[in-house]
């Protein structure tokens, strides 16, 4: 199982993602100018501040050569995980529905969040039962999930919601408490919380590791 972790200029969670993937297989960095994803079994578009994100989070990063290759990889059914800024990149690229807006409180927020698995099927949620709770940190200033009501209805009807913030834990004003969604095919998952920061008891929680292990299990 070989993971690729995309690295943009200015991205900053890629080492953490590499470390997390490394616990569920082998992992390597994928420089933003690389187009060749040969040999990769899964791709992580990590969190961080790609290209400074001054215009709109993820807006510039999605045009990188690596992201073009990731779009093809996803279209061919390859598992792709977008975390935080990576979720935004995938939304900007049209690989996932919706958009992420400034937090309702207009402040960056970093805290441990309680998530509830919402039932979407994907390689990443393979070992996770609907209704299970996971403790995973969030840290973002632009993480308020938004989609027009019809789109939200459709996503929910299709079982594309992967995670919601537990009642009372919505840190940013996300519509319908949505923390993460999958595409229609189920092979692309984006979420605002950071599973790569929850892979060791020493640093707080191991719940995030389950997303990485899920893929490895499916791929195996």
């Amino acid at each position: 199982m070989l993971w690729g972790v995309v690295q943009f200029p200015g991205s900053c969670d890629e080492r953490d993602a590499l470390h997390a993937c490394g616990q569920a297989g082998e992992a390597r960095l994928l420089w933003h100018e690389e187009r060749d994803l040969g040999g990769l079994d899964a791709v992580v578009v990590p969190g961080g501040f790609s290209y400074g994100d001054y215009l709109r989070a993820g807006a510039i990063a999605r045009f990188s050569p690596a992201m073009e290759a990731v779009a093809d990889f996803a279209a061919a059914g390859g598992p792709v995980l977008g975390i935080c800024n990576g979720f935004q990149v995938l939304c900007e690229a049209g690989l996932l529905p919706g958009a992420l807006l400034l937090n309702e409180e207009l402040r960056f927020v970093c805290r441990q969040a309680e998530l509830v698995a919402a039932g979407a099927e994907s390689p990443f949620t393979a070992g996770i039962e609907p209704g299970e709770r996971l403790s995973i940190p969030v840290k973002h200033g632009e993480g308020r999930y938004f989609a027009p009501p019809e789109m939200l209805d459709r996503i929910e009807a299709n079982d594309q919601v992967a995670f919601r913030y537990a009642p009372g834990h919505n840190p940013n004003g996300s519509a319908r408490d949505i923390a993460g969604v999958v595409n229609e095919a189920g092979n692309v998952l984006g979420l605002m919380p950071h599973p790569e920061h929850a892979v060791e008891a020493l640093t707080g929680s191991v719940d995030g590791l389950r997303l990485f292990e899920g893929v490895s299990r499916v791929a195996a």
């Binding site: 200029p9 200015g10 991205s11 900053c12 969670d13 080492r15 953490d16 470390h19 961080g48 501040f49 290209y51 400074g52 994100d53 001054y54 402040r107 960056f108 927020v109 970093c110 805290r111 940190p137 840290k139 200033g141 950071h194 790569e196 920061h197 892979v199 060791e200 020493l202 640093t203 707080g204």
Partner: protein, 733 residues
Amino acid sequence: MTVEVSRHRELGLTDAEYELVVEKLSREPNGVELAMFSLLWSEHCAYKHSRKLLRRLPTEGERVVMGPGENAGAVDVGNGHAVAFKVESHNHPSAVEPFQGAATGVGGILRDVFALGARPIAILDSLRFGELDSERSRFLLDGAVRGIGHYGNSIGVPTVGGEIYFEAPYEHNCLVNAMCVGLARQEAMVRAAAAGVGNAVVLMGASTGRDGIGGASVLASAELGDGDEAKRPTVQIGDPFEESKLLECCLELLEKGLLVSLQDLGAAGLTSSAGEMASAGGVGIDLDVARVPLREADMEPFEIIVSESQERMLGVVEPAKVPEVLAVCERWQTGAAEIGVVTGSGRVRVLRGAEVVGDVPVEALVDGCPLYDLSPAEPNGWIYGNRATLDSAAPAEETLLALLSSPSIASKRWAFEQYDSVVGSRTVRRPESADAAVLAIPEAGNAIAVSIDGNGRRVACDPYAGTVEAVLECVQNLACVGGEPLGLTNCLNFGNPEKPATAWQLERAVSGLADACEALGVPVVSGNVSLYNEGPDGPIYPTPVVGMVGELPEPGRVTGSSFAHEGDAVALLGPFAPSLAGSELAKLRGVLGAGLPSPDVSAVAEACATLRDAVRAGRIASAHDVSDGGLACALAEGAIGAGLGCRVDLAPLVERGCSAEEALFGEGPGGFLISGDRAALESLAADGVEVLVLGEVGNGSLDITAGEQALVVPLAAARTAWHSLAGRVEGAA
């Protein structure tokens, strides 16, 4: 001549200093040279009122890898790795524009650390504002916290700790001190000394604009014509994206061994970087301003060499390696230009193409500034104001709630949740979960503990004892997580040292710092001095801020500061002799005055050693140092964090002569509140350290008895008071 005289004065040089410049040059300086001297001979660069004092600080130790004089200090953490760290102030820029001031403060201290070849792994911040009921204080607080978060969060370095105090003397002159901690392979580290005549000087990072051309603006108005709005010096704007690329680029260059030396550009820009690199290496440097990439085309040479544009570094490179260096910069999309050469001349020469526009001896520029003796005089009593906000007849319950909601004591969650504290996957203890932040260092098979402390009010009461206490508090915070100090950094924030009272504070504080470090065997490896912090009503509280890095073997063993289990015993460990002098309660009652009890450093050190061993051995369940607000507040904090109350009796303190109030709310160094198995806690006394069992964890309220006073406060009420900061910042905004 008269024009020149007024110009050097406006640039901050005294007539005598100007005469000395003329003597060293054997002629009058031109405008470029005058700009260079005025900046490098400023207090900020030359430390002319503090350098003699700083010589008293102990700087040597077995674990010291780099000491003061380098961009940051560094200590050995084992397995060929070093931890580099330094604290620096950005007070004046933050008082003008708090967001950018604080952001660029973080950017600057990060560069100091990666200039050594260390990857930054943590940031801490120490902030001081006026009282929270002032609109200006809330504006500065909000901006500074956002600015720190913006820079640290964007660049991907966790902000893991800090402190915030609110006191009226900081109303006009807030303090924003930022500390950065980095990790390096010792082999890949470099010093800032330029070497190798003929080597190229390469400027990397952002282009150069008219940012922060502070005092030298006098030259702008003289040389460019008055009233030219667009050419006025401007606020420095931070760009963490640029710095992120520059950071990765520099670390890659050092890993590949492509740099002879590296230096960040801070205050006084190219002039100080080039001057200091040349001075440290005993060489000269030629700089061609025509080759400096500019943000605005029409900049004058003096503007280019003193510009404080952010996100720039200066590297010395062997000529053959220049193409490879440029290629690495290109890959990271970071600017790079060969702007000069190392010479054997011992001079910094500024060229514009073929024309020499400035030529000064390095020695005169960097080390020629006269150093001044202070004229200290102890002021007569308490020189700061007092404002009572709490009736001294208030019942104990009300007093406790007032203390818990006092913004200096209340939880700082509102602030630290705006900081990414987890990026990097090293953060074992986040803010508020323990007294010091803990970061895993798998590279060396251990962990470090970091803390930053300094209660300016207590230093104002007694500069010597207060500074000793700041060091002790830091050591105590490390001990709570099992950390043993490896080294210390400090930032001395004071008023105008030319005033005898401030000079006395500074002199006493440095003596306290030196003596405490000496007694504890902790070397000072880096630091910073910020003087002239004054408002219209006078100086700030004298505020030495102490940052420490400690080592601990096993991060998995670290306990937290909150109680852990119902039924655990609660005890006070250490030589704690509480007093209301200088306490938060004395402040609320408006009865502050000069004087603090003398701390017993060696007794505190013994208690720290005992606690450290107990934590490392896993013998206790929680540890928290007793600081602001005394034992009652420490108990409340332990309880609130756990969601478990406690029932304690402070009789052992009262029996030895403490008043009920002193036992409840008195402050002083040396006390730890610990909890755990009763026999295990009692056994710690075997080391000769005092352990007083006070009661036990449990029940839904804080139930504290002290002699004739008894208070019962429901946990929910305590929690509401302690978490009142957010409402008071936001609600009023």
